[in-house]
C-alpha cells in the first residue's frame, strides 16, 4: 500500500522528448482557453447579479465547469505525467480561488473577514499579538494567520489585504497539493492522488469559506501537511530494511518533529483545525493498532504530542475557546435531541432562498451520492482491511451525522464547518474506487463527470448562502451587503471625531463596519451581557438596571441604532447574535418607537443621524443623578 517508488512508465517503444511534451502543451493551451472563458463567465455572472438581471447561477456554474471539468480530465487521464498532474492541480487551485477573489477584490466582505482583517491591521499598526477582537472575540487568541499576514505586510510594504491575498492563495494551492501528497503516500497511483485532491475540492467550504480571510483558510492547509508529515513519520518504520537503523531513526525523528511543528502552527492559527488534526492522528493510530500496521507507537506519540499542544493552548492561552464553541456543538446537540423528541421544530432548509431548483436538488443529492460512494468504498476496503483507508472511512463517516445537525438552528453553522474536515476522509477513501470504476467502465467516466458537477454545485449551494456568493444591491441583515455608504460614513465620522477603540453597543451589521473600518470595539450582546435589551425595552418603560450598570462599569460610551430593525427582517434572520431572544417569524422584531425612544432619553446624546443609522453617547452621570424630564 505504501508507495516508495515512482511508478515506472510502461515498457514499449521509446518516447521522444517531443511526444512527451505534446500533452503538456495541449493541456496548457486548452486550460488557458478554458480558464479565460470560465473567468469571463464568472464576471458576467457577477454583473448579472449586481444589476439584478437574473441568470447569475447558470452563468456562474457554466464558468466553473468550463474550466474544472477539463482540468479534472487532464489530472485523472491515465497517460498524463505526474508533473502534468501537479501542474493541473495548481492551475485548478488557482482557478477555484477566482470566485472569491472576484466577489470583492479590494477588501474584506464576509463577516469573519472584517474581524481577521481588523486583527491583522492591528498587528501591522502596533505590532502586538493577542489583542482582543471586537467582532469575533476568540480570534485574538489565535494569531497565526494575523501574524503571518502582518509580518509579510510589514516586510514587503504590501497592505494587509494584499498580503492576505498572497498568503491565502498560497494556502489554497498548498491545501490542494497537501491532499494529493497525503493520497500519494498511500496509493501508489498518482492518478488516485490527483483524484483525491479533486474530490476534496468538491466540499462545501472549498470555493468560498476556505478562501476567505479567515484563520481556517490557512490552518486547514497546515493541518493537511501536518498529516502528511505524521503519516510519513509513522511509516518511516516501513523502510527499515532499505534505510538502516541510523537513517531510520533520523527519518522518523525528522518527520515527527515536523508534525509537531506544524501541529503547533495549526493550533496557533485555528482551534477547530487543531482539534481535527489531533482527532485524525488518533484515528490513524487507532486503526493501525486495531488492524495492524507500522508506526503504531509513533502514531500514538504524535497524537499525544498534538493533543498536548492543543490542550495547553486551549487551557493557558485561549481559555475562552470552549465558551465560544459551545453554542455550535453543545446547544446544537440539545436542539437535535429536542428535535428528535418532537419538542422543537427544525430549520426549514432553503427557506425563502433564491437558489434555483437545480441547485437545491443538487444540495439534497450531494449527501446521498457521498453516502453511496463511502458505502462502496467500505465494501472495497472490506477485502483488504488496511489501516489507512479504515481511518479515512471513519473520518469521512463523520460527514453524515454532521449533515443531520444542519436541521438545528445552532448546529447548522457547525455542521457546515465540519464538512471541510470530514470530506478529507471521503476524498481519500473514495479516490481509489473512482479510478477503479473509470478504468473498467466507459459509462463510469460519463457518470463521474455528472457526479462531479452535481457535487460541486450541491455542496457549494448547501455551504454558502447566495448573498455571500453573489454581489447585489444593499440588503438589510446581510453580512456581505451591510457595508452601505451610510454605515461606512457613520463609522468614519465616529473614528475621525471621537477616536478609535471606543466601546459601543451595536447590531451585528453595524458592529461589523464600526469594528473593522471604524476601528472601534463594538459589542452585539450575549446571554450574559444582553446589550440588545436596550433596544427591546418599551418606550416609557424601565431600562434593565443591571445592564445599564454593566455598560457603565465596562466603560461603554456609544450606542449605534439602525432603524431598519423596525422596518425589515434581516436577510440572515439574525439581529445581534445567533441565540438572541427575539422573534424570527418573518415580522420585524422591533417597532419604530422602540428604536426612536433613545431620542427622548436625557442620558443619551444624539451625536449623529442619517437615514437609518444614529449614534448616541451615553451620559451615565445624568442617568445616575436621577434627573429625568
Amino acid at each position: 500500500m505504501i508507495a516508495d517508488t515512482v511508478p515506472l512508465p510502461a515498457a514499449g517503444a521509446p518516447v521522444t522528448e517531443g511526444a512527451r511534451r505534446a500533452p503538456a502543451v495541449w493541456c496548457a493551451i486548452t486550460l488557458t482557453a478554458a480558464g479565460a472563458a470560465g473567468t469571463a463567465a464568472l464576471i458576467h455572472s457577477y454583473q448579472q447579479a449586481e444589476w439584478e438581471r437574473g441568470g447569475q447561477f447558470g452563468w456562474f456554474w457554466a464558468g466553473m465547469l468550463v474550466f474544472t471539468l477539463p482540468a479534472a480530465w487532464w489530472a485523472v487521464r491515465a497517460s498524463s505525467s505526474a508533473r502534468l498532474r501537479v501542474g493541473v492541480l495548481i492551475a485548478y487551485a488557482l482557478f477555484t480561488y477566482l470566485p472569491k477573489l472576484l466577489r470583492h477584490p479590494d477588501g474584506p466582505l464576509y463577516h469573519d473577514e472584517y474581524a481577521h482583517w481588523g486583527q491583522s491591521q492591528g498587528i501591522l499598526t502596533d505590532g502586538r499579538l493577542f489583542q482582543p477582537n471586537p467582532i469575533v472575540r476568540v480570534i485574538g487568541d489565535y494569531p497565526g494567520l494575523h501574524a503571518t499576514v502582518a509580518a509579510f505586510g510589514t516586510l514587503t510594504g504590501l497592505t494587509v489585504w494584499q498580503a492576505a491575498l498572497l498568503v491565502l492563495i498560497l494556502a489554497h494551492v498548498l491545501l490542494m497539493l497537501g491532499v494529493a501528497a497525503l493520497a500519494a503516500h498511500f496509493w501508489s497511483d498518482p492518478r488516485i492522488a490527483a483524484t483525491a485532491a479533486l474530490i476534496y475540492s468538491l466540499n462545501s467550504s472549498f470555493l468560498f469559506f476556505d478562501t476567505q480571510l479567515g484563520y481556517e483558510s490557512l490552518a486547514i492547509a497546515v493541518m493537511v501537511w501536518a498529516l502528511v508529515a505524521g503519516v510519513r513519520a509513522m511509516d518511516a518504520t516501513g523502510s527499515r530494511a532499505r534505510l538502516g537503523w541510523s537513517r531510520l531513526g533520523w527519518s522518523r525523528l525528522g518527520w515527527s518533529a515536523l508534525t509537531v511543528l506544524l501541529a503547533g502552527g495549526t493550533t496557533a492559527t485555528h482551534h477547530l483545525s487543531a482539534i481535527w488534526l489531533t482527532g485524525v492522528l488518533g484515528l490513524l493510530a487507532l486503526t493501525r493498532t486495531v488492524l495492524g500496521g507500522p508506526g503504531r507507537i509513533t502514531g500514538w506519540a504524535l497524537t499525544a504530542a498534538s493533543g498536548l499542544v492543543v490542550t495547553v493552548w486551549l487551557g493557558v492561552v485561549a481559555p475562552t475557546t470552549g465558551r465560544y464553541l459551545d453554542p455550535y456543538l453543545g446547544r446544537a446537540l440539545d436542539q437535535f435531541s429536542n428535535l428528535a423528541g418532537g419538542d422543537e421544530e427544525g430549520r426549514e432548509l432553503f427557506k425563502q432562498s433564491i437558489l434555483p431548483w437545480w441547485e437545491r436538488d443538487a444540495a439534497y443529492l450531494a449527501p446521498v451520492i457521498a453516502f453511496l460512494a463511502v458505502a462502496a468504498s467500505l465494501m472495497l476496503w472490506w477485502r483488504r482491511r488496511d489501516a489507512f483507508p479504515a481511518a479515512m472511512l471513519l473520518l469521512g463517516g463523520l460527514y453524515f451525522p454532521a449533515t443531520l445537525l444542519i436541521l438545528t438552528p445552532s448546529g447548522a453553522e457547525g455542521a457546515r464547518r465540519s464538512w471541510a474536515f470530514s470530506y478529507l476522509g471521503i476524498a481519500l477513501a473514495v479516490a481509489p474506487l473512482v479510478i477503479a470504476l473509470i478504468d473498467r467502465f466507459v459509462a463510469a467516466r460519463r457518470a463521474a463527470v455528472a457526479l462531479f458537477a452535481v457535487l460541486l454545485v450541491g455542496n457549494t449551494a448547501a455551504g454558502m448562502n447566495p448573498s455571500y456568493r453573489f454581489p447585489g444591491p444593499p440588503v438589510f441583515g446581510s453580512d456581505t451587503r451591510a457595508a452601505t455608504p451610510e454605515v461606512l460614513a457613520a463609522a468614519a465620522w465616529l473614528r475621525e471625531t471621537q477616536g478609535n477603540h471606543l466601546r459601543l453597543v451595536a447590531d451585528r451589521y453595524s458592529g461589523l463596519i464600526f469594528g473593522s473600518y471604524g476601528e472601534q470595539a463594538p459589542t452585539t450582546g450575549s446571554v450574559t451581557f444582553p446589550a440588545y435589551d436596550l433596544y427591546r425595552a418599551r418606550p416609557g418603560g424601565p431600562m434593565p438596571p443591571a445592564l445599564l450598570d454593566q455598560l457603565d462599569r465596562w466603560r461603554f460610551e456609544y450606542l449605534v441604532v439602525d432603524r431598519r430593525m423596525a422596518e425589515q427582517v434581516p436577510d440572515i434572520n439574525i439581529y445581534f447574535e445567533t441565540n438572541e431572544p427575539l422573534r424570527h417569524d418573518g415580522v420585524p422584531a422591533f417597532d419604530r418607537t422602540q428604536l426612536t425612544k433613545f431620542d427622548h432619553l436625557p442620558w443619551l446624546i444624539k451625536l449623529y443621524d442619517g437615514p437609518h443609522i444614529a449614534v448616541y453617547r451615553f451620559d451615565f452621570a445624568t442617568l445616575h443623578s436621577g434627573m429625568t424630564q
Binding site: L102, P105, P485, L607, D609, D619, T622
Partner: protein
C-alpha cells in the same frame, strides 16, 4: 554541505538586502519570498527525502514551512515584548535559519537527498529532473496570475450600480464632545453642526431648531451633491428654571439632539467663557461648564443668515434661533459663519 550553506547564504543575503528596502514593494517582495523559501528549505534539510510519488511536493512543503516561520518568529518575540516589526522579524528569521543549519550539519546522514527546486545540486541529473518540475509549477502560476489580474482589472472597471445616497447631520467641533447636558448662558450659545450629503442630487431641506419639542427657528438649506456643510446654530437662552430642555437640530428627517439647561448663578472663579460667537463656537475655545471639548478644528468665515422663530409655534421666552450655513466639498472642512 551545499544543501545547507546555499540556502543559508540566500537567507542572510536576502534579509540583509531586505532591511534597507522594507516597504518598497517591488524590491522587498521578491527578497522576502526568497528568504522565506530558503528558510523553508532549511527546515527540510534535516528530513529524509520524500517519497517522490508526485514531483514538487517537497517544494510545496518548503513553501509552507517558510511561511510558517513568520508566525513562529512573531510568537517567539512576543514573551520578550518585541513588536512585529521588520528588524526583529528579519533577525528572528536569520536566527531560525542559523539554528536549523547548525542542527543539520552534525546529524545529517551522509547519503544525500535528491535535488529540490531551490538548490541546484552539482549533479547534472538533478538539474535536468528539476527543471520540468519548475515548469509545471511556474507555468500555471504565471498563466493564472495573468488571467486573474486581467479579470480583476476588467471587473473593477465595468459599470456597477450606484450605491444609495444619504444626508446626515452631526454635532460638530466641540459639540461632538458633549457628554452631559449643556449649560446655556444668558446670551445664548452657538452650536456647530455638520451636514453631509453624498450620492444624492442637489436638493433643499428644512433646517430646524427645536427646543422642548417646539420649533424655534427654521430656514431652508441647500444641500449640494457630495458636500459637507458646517453650520452654526444659535441656541437662545433657556428659561431660568434649572430644568433640562430637549434640544434638537434637524435637517430634513435627520436630527441631532441633546439636553440643556440655563446657566446657574455664577460661582466665584468657576465660570468659564462661553461660546457666544460663531467663530468661537467653531474653534471650540470657550466651553460651557459641563461640556467637554476635544478635537478642535480651525475656523474660517462664511455668510450670514438669521431665521426668526416660526409663527404659531410655541416659543420659549427669549428663544430665537440663528442658523448659518457654510459649504465645503465632501471630506473637507471650511470656516465658521458669523451670525
Amino acid at each position: 554541505m551545499n544543501r545547507i550553506l546555499i540556502p543559508l547564504a540566500v537567507v542572510y543575503g536576502a534579509l540583509g538586502a531586505l532591511l534597507p528596502v522594507t516597504g518598497r514593494l517591488w524590491i522587498a517582495l521578491p527578497l522576502s519570498v526568497a528568504a522565506l523559501l530558503a528558510v523553508g528549505d532549511l527546515w527540510l534539510v534535516a528530513l529524509p527525502p520524500p517519497v517522490p510519488s508526485l514531483p514538487g511536493l517537497r517544494a510545496a512543503l518548503a513553501a509552507l514551512t517558510g511561511l510558517m516561520t513568520l508566525p513562529l518568529v512573531a510568537l517567539a518575540l512576543y514573551p520578550f515584548g518585541v513588536a512585529v516589526r521588520p528588524l526583529p522579524l528579519a533577525g528572528g528569521v536569520a536566527v531560525v535559519a542559523s539554528c536549523l543549519a547548525a542542527a543539520s550539519v552534525p546529524s545529517r546522514p551522509s547519503s544525500d537527498f535528491s535535488g529540490t527546486p531551490f538548490v541546484v545540486s552539482s549533479a547534472p541529473f538533478v538539474v535536468s529532473s528539476v527543471a520540468p518540475t519548475i515548469g509545471a509549477v511556474v507555468l500555471p502560476v504565471i498563466v493564472a496570475l495573468g488571467i486573474g489580474g486581467i479579470a480583476v482589472h476588467t471587473y473593477e472597471r465595468l459599470p456597477h450600480p450606484a450605491e444609495p445616497g444619504y444626508v446626515t447631520v452631526a454635532l460638530g467641533d466641540w459639540a461632538a464632545s458633549l457628554d452631559r447636558p449643556l449649560t446655556v448662558p444668558a446670551q445664548g450659545i452657538y452650536i456647530p453642526v455638520r451636514v453631509t450629503s453624498a450620492g444624492l442630487p442637489a436638493t433643499r431641506a428644512r433646517l430646524r431648531l427645536w427646543v422642548g419639542g417646539a420649533v424655534v427657528a427654521t430656514r431652508p438649506l441647500d444641500l449640494y451633491a457630495d458636500t459637507v456643510r458646517t453650520l452654526t446654530v444659535r441656541l437662545p437662552a433657556l428659561p431660568a428654571d434649572d430644568a433640562l430642555h430637549p434640544i434638537d437640530i434637524s435637517v430634513g428627517a435627520a436630527s441631532t439632539g441633546f439636553y440643556a439647561r440655563s446657566t446657574p448663578p455664577p460661582t466665584s472663579g468657576a465660570a468659564r467663557r462661553l461660546p457666544t460667537t460663531p467663530d468661537a463656537a467653531a474653534r471650540g475655545l470657550p466651553s460651557t461648564p459641563g461640556a467637554a471639548v476635544r478635537g478642535v478644528s480651525a475656523p474660517g468665515r462664511a455668510g450670514r443668515a438669521v431665521v426668526r422663530a416660526v409663527a404659531g409655534r410655541r416659543v420659549l421666552a427669549g428663544a430665537q434661533g440663528c442658523l448659518a450655513p457654510r459649504r465645503a466639498p465632501l471630506s473637507t472642512s471650511q470656516g465658521g459663519t458669523p451670525c
